[in-house]
Amino acid sequence: MKPRAEIALAWVTLKEGMRERAFMGIMTFALLLLIASGVIADLSIGNILKVTQDLGLSAVSFTGLLLAFFMGTHLIAKDLDKRSIYMVLSKPMGRGSYIAGKYGGLVALVGLSLAFITLFMLVATFYFYKTSRLYFPPQIAWGKLVLASIFIFLEASLILALSVFFSSFASSPLLALFLTLAVYLVGESTHQVSEILHSPLGQRTSPVLKALAMGAFYIFPDLSLLDLKAAAVHNLPLPPLRLMKTALYAICYILALLILATFIFKKREMK
């Protein structure tokens, strides 16, 4: 197995993704959202720069999610649908290498897009910071805004890994998309649900439901861990060790999903 083959496939995936209409649409939407954020923030009161940062980071996050959901499932499904996968697999390349190459290309596509959107978000925030009508503009934690965007990228990479995993066995791209979306929704709420279950409200919940919720808490990825938006906007402390552990958590989850995806994909019968 030559790593050059995976790199070549990743490169092809990246170029293919950039040519997709959906990609262009998502990027245009994200840029419009960022431009509109200034107008929307102006409708607010008090610390309008906080609202600008909320909108900016949400635009970055939303872009990452849209790209991860749609491009992840779409590009693999396209290979299967147009049978171009046979051409790739006929080369001296295993199915594991196909998964690695495809995932690498998708991650590069999402990473480059998020880097571009983050840069645009930072420029827009700087512009609103300089032109705000506030008496004492608050300090903006620029470094933490970049860090929050890096963790948005990690979250998008995890969702991409989920979409690759589901695409490895799902019969249709729509099914893979729905499954990824379902895991995202569960992953975003497991922490919140466990908090509710530990509150006085949870006393009334049935033990079966509690056990199910706690099971979900341990099985599904806790995506709320990767959400640093509030910490960046409010300039809250971010201990480096905790950040490293969180990044390691996401990377381990991604690797586990890709290994599982490879295992399933190898068993999959190609028609």
Partner: protein
């Protein structure tokens, strides 16, 4: 081309129907979901919903005319929800501490602020607001002192805060204490839209404090309390009856204190 032209009246018709079915009155109060529903349904975009509720509260607060009881009730719920969705956001606590008590929602305001103490533990403003509420509205100076001392001990407290707190306690009249508090608050506000209403309240209370002081002088001179503000004008203590910035009319209550028909809330004109 003909089909293209046909779409124009259809679009106009839909636009007209939209306006008829959902007229924009500016008085719409969006629903307030249960906090658990709001927390779960907004996934990682909780801050955006919190921002939205604050913008709506600001729209009602800054709007013309007095807030209706339904609006006050909605604002109370929206501020509690906004603080739950984004517990580090200062604005819900600002509005809870400085708007709700003046609209009769003191206990709710205290409850929201106490939750804010857990999340913005470094922020001197939340104990400062709480201290004033206990001092001025609840008339519990010991509890007020506890929170004000907490505010002064915060590492981020401005250097003038201990002096301001000391002045708050040295003032005898209630108006004077509120004036000291509002002057301090006015110095902390960034947004001109928030500074305006505080300045207006400050102006009204300054006038009321002055009238009360002049009424005491009148009483010392004539050994009787003035019945109306005109008595003060006639005796030369005032050149004219001052206007209430809120559009109401100042008067003496039976116990001799000054109050206004506006209740320090915007009076609808006309």
């Amino acid at each position: 081309m003909k089909k293209g032209i046909l779409t124009l009246p259809l679009l106009l018709l839909t636009h007209w129907l939209h306006l008829v079915l959902s007229p924009v009155t500016g008085g719409y109060l969006p629903p307030l979901p249960k906090k658990e529903v709001a927390l779960l349904s907004t996934v990682e975009f909780k801050a955006l919903l919190s921002d939205y509720y604050i913008a709506k509260v600001a729209q009602i607060y800054g709007g013309p005319g007095p807030s209706t009881p339904a609006q006050v009730k909605w604002m109370t719920g929206a501020l509690a929800l906004s603080a739950k969705l984004d517990p580090h956001y200062l604005e819900p606590y600002y509005f809870a501490g400085n708007v709700l008590p003046w609209k009769g929602e003191l206990d709710q305001a205290i409850s929201i602020l106490k939750k804010g103490l857990e999340h913005r533990y470094w922020d001197w403003r939340i104990p400062f607001y709480l201290g004033f509420l206990y001092f001025y509205f609840k008339r519990e100076p010991v509890e007020g002192a506890r929170y004000l001392s907490m505010a002064t001990q915060s590492p981020e407290a401005p250097p003038y805060l201990p002096l301001l707190v000391a002045r708050l306690y040295s003032e005898k009249g209630r108006f004077s204490a509120a004036i000291v508090y509002l002057r301090g608050l006015h110095r902390t506000l960034r947004d001109p839209m928030l500074r305006g209403p505080v300045k207006k309240r400050l102006d009204a209370l300054t006038i009321m404090e002055r009238i009360e002081r002049l009424a005491n002088e009148y009483q010392r001179k004539y050994r009787a309390f003035p019945h109306t503000l005109q008595d003060l004008v006639r005796a030369g203590f005032l050149t004219h009856v001052p206007e209430d910035p809120y559009g109401g009319r100042f008067f003496f209550k039976p116990d001799g204190t000054v109050w206004t028909t506006s209740n320090l809330r915007e009076v609808e004109k006309g």
